[in-house]
């Protein structure tokens, strides 16, 4: 399956890209699975998405949890806790 992944703010700077398309094996993926998958890319990714680090995620522009399902064609975003207002 194919998904779009977006990165914002400090996380975007840490991984060095703001968006990409990911081709994944056809199976049931969750937000936590994607995060684990991305960590295997190297030091910058492992550090930015490390377990225990405050990283938020959205699936199709809705705030998501670790266990939120990621359907084929989804837009998934990873970012630090928000600081607007």
């Amino acid at each position: 399956m194919k998904i779009k992944v977006l990165y914002f703010a400090k996380l975007r700077e840490q991984v060095g890209i703001d968006a990409e398309t990911l081709e994944l094996a056809q199976r049931a993926w969750t937000v936590a699975d994607i995060r684990t998958h991305l960590r295997s890319r190297g030091a910058a990714w492992a550090e930015a998405l490390a377990e225990g680090k405050a990283v938020r995620a959205a699936v199709n522009q809705q705030m998501a949890q670790a266990g939120t399902a990621v359907p084929d064609g989804a837009e998934v975003a990873f970012f630090p806790p928000v600081t607007g207002g």
Binding site: L6, F8, A9, K10, V31, A32, R35, A54, V55, R56, A57, A58, Q61, Q62, M63, A64, Q65, A66, T68, A77, F78, F79, P80, P81, V82, T83, G84, G85
Partner: protein
């Protein structure tokens, strides 16, 4: 439109006039304006840049306004949030609520700000004499949102 994200500044008087236009059932109007401070965490701030998640930002703000309409007896609400480069003293965010009596407008305005600060996808980066740095989320903001006592939807994968 009850929600706007823009680089331009906003005018409180014009926004209040717009929300009042054509109606005489309003008994109270509450507004909150957030502005850029020149000092954060003990360092002078010369520039604040606001990044956001286009598309999701508007949806998240609309969801927060819908939530406020469901919880409080308000007649209308408006949220304007700026993005891009700002300087100390600049306006960042505006929330206006109107109701028949003041209590609901005060409560809804505070609720909107508390929820916006933990759920709307905006991120602040500030320039200080020590260089550029991303502003960290505050635990006190989570506490402020949590006191409205509902399921946490912020997400922590």
């Amino acid at each position: 439109m009850s929600v706007r994200v823009q680089t331009e500044d906003f005018d409180l008087g014009a926004e209040v006039a717009a929300i009042r236009a054509g109606r005489t059932d309003i008994g109270g109007i509450v507004s909150f304006i957030g502005t850029v401070r020149d000092l954060n965490e003990g360092d002078a701030v010369s520039t604040l840049t606001l990044e956001h998640y286009p598309g999701m930002t508007e949806r998240a703000l609309e969801a927060i306004v819908d939530e406020a309409r469901g919880r409080f007896d308000i007649l209308d609400a408006r949220v304007v949030h700026r993005i891009g480069r700002l300087a100390p003293g600049d306006q960042i965010v505006l929330v206006i609520t109107v109701s028949t009596h003041r209590g609901e407008a005060f409560a809804a305005c505070e609720f909107l700000m508390d929820y916006l600060k933990t759920r709307a996808p905006f991120w602040k980066k500030e320039v200080t004499p020590a260089g550029e740095r991303w502003v960290d989320a505050r635990e006190s903001d989570d506490d402020a949102a949590a006191r409205w006592n509902c399921a946490d939807e912020r997400g922590a994968p």
